[in-house]
Symmetry: C2
């Protein structure tokens, strides 16, 4: 029965590319039609419990069975399998059961993404309080754990992360002495860079104790403690007003029920002539739910916003949107770099945790990459102000600054 149910699902789903599925009884079944422009993937399911789990809840069970090795992929072509799944799901061929589940998750996000202060701290700890050594294995030296900005496909990850910070700094229109609030400061890289290169004062807040420890140590080591302060603090508890607010890769953790609170808080904390820059993963598709495997294993309480619901909260907050840049494949490239680095260090990762964790992380990085390539994820950089005069009336200030960068880069070569 589970075999028939899964077969019906895959028959409906696989219209682009092809899948050969070997079942616990040793039989092999083919779905879709081989096509040079789409993956051909072989998969084996090794027990009936996995067959049942995949038939009932494929979006959760695929990652779980891959972690448990009760599902294996020919040549371990994880990216191929994920591309095959996502392209067909994005084409609208998912099962009614999966879509029903998604609808239920969507309707229940008031509960699953409520993210009041205590829950937020627990959710953050789940991911960001993992061993600092783990992040050392695949991030750049500055620990930028968000999308890098590739000016050319040949850029290294290190270059692209430097460019990301520079790009954001330009949009913040910084002047020496300004006060900057960094909401979700991570391991401190953004705040330290802004203080060092632009002479601003920074308050960075995080809910991760591991991140705080490292961020503070880095500020100390850089001799910047007079200008850069890191605190373990919920952004909703911050007081005062700041000339600039930056928030990179944090909005994904806010949860749809809190979007209004988030932007009301930004509005409250921003000076009357202030500028804010929110950098977040986004979805091109309408508001919906979060993948259940990601919620369970990677980002509890997380939610990838659509522009429509984000803009609605901004409009109600009284803030003015002054620019929306939309990065498409930059995060796919970033994740490919992280994947390659991580896989080169897989033994070190297994020594930190275990082999199942390595497969979990590998699945996370590969699935995230393919979501940007094939399933409508992107990055929004939303620039905000409180008056129509604050930000220059053309985007030429971004271009001029960039031209200067070029000149600097070539003169120091």
């Amino acid at each position: 029965m589970w075999q028939r149910l899964l077969g019906m699902y895959l028959n409906r789903l696989i219209r682009v590319g092809s899948l050969s599925l070997t079942l616990p009884d040793g039989t092999t079944h083919h779905f879709g039609v081989p096509d040079a422009k789409a993956p051909t993937v072989g998969v084996a399911i090794h027990d009936t419990a996995t067959l049942r789990a995949l038939a009932l809840n494929p979006h959760l069970a695929l990652g779980e069975s891959y972690m448990d090795q009760t599902l294996t992929i020919e040549n371990d072509d994880l990216h191929g399998l994920l591309e095959l799944a996502m392209r067909n799901i994005a084409a609208g061929h998912d099962s009614w059961l999966s879509r029903l589940r998604e609808r239920v998750r969507d309707l229940s996000r008031g509960i699953s993404q409520r993210n009041q202060a205590r829950r937020s701290k627990r959710n953050v700890a789940h991911h960001y309080d993992l061993s600092a050594k783990l992040y050392d294995l695949f991030l750049d030296a500055d620990r930028q754990y968000s999308c890098a900005y590739f000016r050319t496909p040949q850029d290294t990850l290190e270059q692209a992360q430097v460019q990301k910070k520079a790009h954001i700094a330009r949009k913040l229109l910084l002047k020496p002495g300004m006060s900057v609030l960094d909401i979700g400061c991570g391991w401190g890289g953004m705040g330290l860079t802004l203080a060092q290169e632009h002479g601003v004062k920074v308050l960075g807040v995080t809910l991760s104790e591991e991140q705080l420890k490292i961020a503070r140590a880095r500020a100390q080591a850089a001799g910047l403690t007079d200008r850069v302060r890191f605190e373990l603090m919920d952004y909703r508890a911050v007081q005062g007003q700041f000339d600039r607010i930056v928030s990179v890769g944090m909005f994904e953790h806010v949860g749809a029920p809190n979007f209004q609170t988030y932007f009301n808080t930004v509005n409250r904390l921003l000076a009357a002539d202030g500028v804010a820059l929110i950098h977040t993963i986004g979805r091109f598709t309408p508001p919906g739910s979060t993948n259940p495997w990601i919620t369970k294993y990677i980002f509890p309480g997380g939610y990838i916003p659509a522009l429509s619901e984000t803009a609605a909260a901004i409009e109600r907050s009284g803030l003015i949107t002054t620019d929306v840049e939309i990065w498409r494949l930059h995060y796919a490239e970033t994740l490919r770099h992280w994947y390659t680095r991580f896989m080169a260090q897989r033994d070190a990762a297994a020594a930190l945790y275990d082999d199942r964790f390595v497969r979990l992380w590998k699945f996370y990085l590969a699935a995230s990459e393919q979501t940007f390539r094939f399933a409508g994820q992107n990055v929004f950089q939303i620039q905000l102000a409180r008056t129509v005069q604050t930000v220059p009336q053309t985007r030429d200030y971004l271009l001029r600054a960039q031209t200067t960068d070029h000149r600097l880069a070539s003169s120091t070569r």
Copy 2:
């Protein structure tokens, strides 16, 4: 009684700047507190009917009584009065009656903005079939009846309109021979420019017979009839697919109930590797209603979109938003130019129509300008595609093209 009602309203409303109001009985009443940073305006109401109309429906009656001269302004400081009104309304001090009216208009937009094909044609005729001579009085030579792009405050209107077209052309990533659909082509200026400067083939559609006549005559005169075709056609009736779609200042006429149809149509008409650029007035405030004077006298069926509702329709259409540029004060500058030109030609306008029409048009241009300065209106340029690969992965293509423009400009000086 009307006097008391209007007094209560103005007492509540005027918190920034001040108003001296002279009533039909000759008494003068003061509202607000004089303030160097806000207008001080004197207004006289000349009959009781106007007093009543202003008390009951100020958003409609202000424009009507100004047109009828039953309300006059000291030194004819129309911009000052509108600034005073808009700044205080934007600060949230409007009356409950006005807000209730707005809510009713909002709820009834399914009817007032239904804009099926026949109604759309009538609505368009109301404004755009006005004498071509009228538009000659205040537009630039190319008849660009939409927001110009001021690279510097010193730019002339003619320059700024050329820059607007160039800016849009860059975002369209044109190549010679491409097919371009211009939805709402006006008097043909955009289509003719794209064909002439970029070697593309253009189909421009309008619902205005006056615009069509002039656009066709211009194509003939320019010897471009082999590459540029103008048709009297509802955009929903267009067939085929186009490499590029451009739509400037037309989305304001679509009406909220038709946003989904609009973007579904763009998606249907756009080639798989196509790029579209939608240029429209927008609001920073949440979705709401249209000013009743504007609906009655200027743009029946029109509606200024918020980004949230526009993005929601785009997300559901399957299109991908690749960039959102937001112009703030450019339309205020454009409208100031139009106002100045129009006022210099007011006798010619009165000869075409009459003095009341001159006041109507003057109120329209002044009120529109102040809406961009003080009441949360802006311009959205939304670039759309169907795949994540179509548009270059950084905005550098805009920069490079612009640098080239500069070089061209200086080498031809």
